[in-house]
Symmetry: D2
Subunit: 292 residues, 4 copies
């Protein structure tokens, strides 16, 4: 089938390639003309036969919103827009309403798989009305991994991004789990070769997982990770997961710990620990470490 | 080769079976005569030709200590004792010293794999002197999973149990990660079929893992886990992991959160939350919920 | 001076009393006619001479919003509305804009002190333009505690509720601190009389505080808090504190732990711990506790 | 009465002074001859009339152990040793047994009050047999604050240090509470003058406390704590509190969060966050920050 694809960055570009390998016709637009097949949204829309499916793969927030608003003016009733970016699930209903007012369908789709998706396929979680999802199905089928699993219609509009958000929340805590264990093994002097322990955990253990495989890859590149700083970004989904939990009065201690560890990692110096140091000095005369 | 195996419970019994399938001669002792091949430790020792390898697979703590003390009196110089139970790594050096005084070798071995180990093999992490490990190697080779991985000589005496302990600490936080995500998906009304989301996460996602596969199995047996109580034991390794982290000044927020969640799960009513309720009532006149 | 006071519940009623004792004229309105001095907002507004100050002390959210919207229609330019309820700081700017469009001033005021405020005075944190604050100042002076402290102009509109919100976040973690310590002392068998330890901590220690005094009061009423259930509500400010922290990438592990402990306390059974139990059963054949 | 006091550092020196002001005779020994009244433990013991009371105020661990062993050889039946240092409660029973074998009494005493104790008095929590405590009572009465509170016989040997340990655990979480709140107020731009908010919280609020008073003192010396590094030591009691909680299966999320925050504050770079960065790079191609 034909697909319009907006956003040809690291993710979008690989997705175009995987879809073309599967025999689909992909017309791609990107603000960067070197990446693009067409050079305006209008050109993209004109190049597609109806009912059109247009997949938006741009940064969450204003960029996605502006793109969807522009598409609302260009598309026709019966067309479908897919938001495959990392949008907050609370944005989806607004986008669906905007498009729905013009009888344009909307599907939100969380996409997992990173740089490995081109070869391995992308895990997909999507939300929307069945009739809209049906129009995108051949694209989902081409993007997903081989086998029976890896793509799920999670519910109504918003459910795809919600499921992907929770996936990422789980991912945060799993990464933190391996990171904590690795630091402890490196800090204690009991285990001689931590990397070999990680490597052998890949078979037969309870914790075998793709993230463990990736940890071994990383340690094979740099056994003690000495070339890296302990500095980790967060991309929105972790924060939203905690906020959704608060809205639902669900305790998420491990996922939140993982999020806060990332926040701390980005502070050159911790303001709260300055206050701890100041209080210790006030009551106990404990020495404080002066800032340089 | 010949192996003496002490402790033929769920784990030990399956290990005997896997070793026999691999062609080894296993003489098993258990306090339960229905399970045992021989009916005393002395009989077990007498039945083995030297240099003997005796694998202890009994509960950590006093049972393991008593067994090793008894073996110290029965075995000969050059024999080797393997502690394959869930002993605390700090016990290993004492056991090694006790046996070493009689020139008996000691190897500690953490074993992962649970009820799946019989078919899939057991992941093994062991510590000890190379000459002692060498005597046990055919047994390790038969117990481990197919393939190159799943068994590692982690370092000196104690390193095997230390590595297994950290494995279990990581396992605690990974389980907590999936549990938190599942509760959030069930609590929010966005995703229609949480089980199908979990099932499809098994391919293409960042969080694909054996624990995820097991979660899907559990949900297939009982979609909303309504037949279970939210009550989780802990087995020692989680506690020891946190204590080892404290000894090394390593922060373990996610693993500790997972441990504390299990503690809380076993309280019929939370004493600390009684105090919170009492304080709210004191300053704000907030209603309290009376105990029945 | 004259004050219109809307909402005469536990807090509002006591504040009216404290203001009257200080010689101010308070005209109170409440939906409950038994509590009210006047029987409609219109009557309240008509009874006040301008420039009027009207203090809103009703539940945060829709009730506060509706009251402010009604006042916008009834008041005159130059009048001032004070929101003394537990509104989220993000509501304040909207309310200020709504009133400002009619040249009515707005001050948000966080109020601490609970049932003790009538006698001890209320701590006040307020935000708004200096000219609006000035019109309310005599009311603030009468409500605040004796002495130099206890009332602060924290900044622009929203700053009062923001400061009060953080106060409550700190309060959550302080309460949790005492609750955790109390549970540990009660659980261990080392200390014979936990209540006497708490009582004596009230002098000379680093942790002496009003909350400690209240804990002693509570223990004097019920030494082991046996009459209470470990069930704690949360009132919004704790959640908003965590959300504000997420917005600012500030790690709040202790405050968040306190919030999550309250969430957990309200669950009859923990869904996430059902999943932990299910996973342990899957890989280890560990016994699970069946729901009754 | 007469007291032998061993250890005349910051705490011990001030305690000697407070006891002398109360009319007691204090004979002090310290390895530093400039601080000492006598120049050996033997000289100290010889200078006291029996039944002697000797207060040990030296660093916990080996120094305390060695001092008590030396006193066991020097003292007579009926004498009493007080350990007023920050010993782990698990050491107390051993020390009591050692001394008890020679019919010398033992009392463990946790002391709170820091550099303020000289003027304000020290809060005291002690454990031991009533007959031993009775011999020390005049010293406790002189050290404690004015008023009825501040000194408590908490139970048998070990109970004093246990109670002090939990006091410090609570203190950790309370300090963390204020530190988190302060960082959030400083990070958000809503509140104009955070220090004035803290100052005014000292009256009428739920969180008024000595630690809040000290925070205001610290901010008065350095409004934004710019001269300090966010680097906080921990002194043992926080760690032991968490370990005692683990032994008793008591969840301590806030106290543990406070302990871990201190651990993190002392790391130049976080190993675990290197692993997080490495994993993000592996699956997502996310940029990593190179170590310099």
């Amino acid at each position: 089938m034909e697909l319009g694809l907006i956003g040809l960055g690291k993710m979008g570009g690989n997705m175009r390639e995987r879809l073309r390998r599967a025999g689909h016709t992909v017309i791609g637009y990107d603000r960067n003309p070197d990446l693009a097949d067409v050079h305006s949204l209008k050109e993209l829309v004109d190049a597609l036969s109806g009912p059109r499916v247009v997949w938006v793969m741009v940064p969450a927030g204003n960029a996605t919103k502006a793109t969807i608003e522009a598409l609302a003016d260009l598309l026709d009733p019966g067309d479908v827009v897919v938001d495959g970016g990392n949008s907050r699930w609370t944005d989806d209903e607004q986008h669906a309403d905007l498009l729905g007012a013009r009888e344009i369908g909307f599907v939100d789709c969380g996409v997992s798989g990173g740089v490995w998706g081109l070869e391995n396929g992308y895990a997909l979680m999507y939300g929307g009305r069945p009739e809209d999802v049906a129009k995108v199905q051949p694209v989902f089928d081409a993007l997903k991994p081989e086998g029976d699993l890896g793509a799920v219609h999670a519910g109504r509009v918003g459910a795809g991004h919600f499921a992907k958000m929770v996936h990422n929340g789980i991912e945060y805590a799993m990464m933190q789990a391996f990171a904590e264990g690795w630091e402890l093994l490196e800090a204690a002097d009991s285990v001689t070769d931590v990397r070999e322990v990680f490597r052998n955990w890949q078979q037969g253990t309870v914790i075998r997982s793709w993230l463990l495989d990736l940890a071994v890859r990383a340690l094979d590149e740099d056994e003690h990770l000495t070339s890296l700083r302990g500095y980790a970004q967060d991309s929105g989904e972790g924060r939203w997961t905690v906020e959704a939990a608060i809205d639902n009065a669900v305790p998420l201690p491990a996922i939140t710990a993982a999020l806060f560890a990332r926040f701390s990692s980005r502070q050159d110096d911790s303001p709260q620990m300055k206050m701890i140091a100041a209080l210790r000095n006030q009551f106990g005369g404990h020495a404080v470490t002066q800032a340089e």
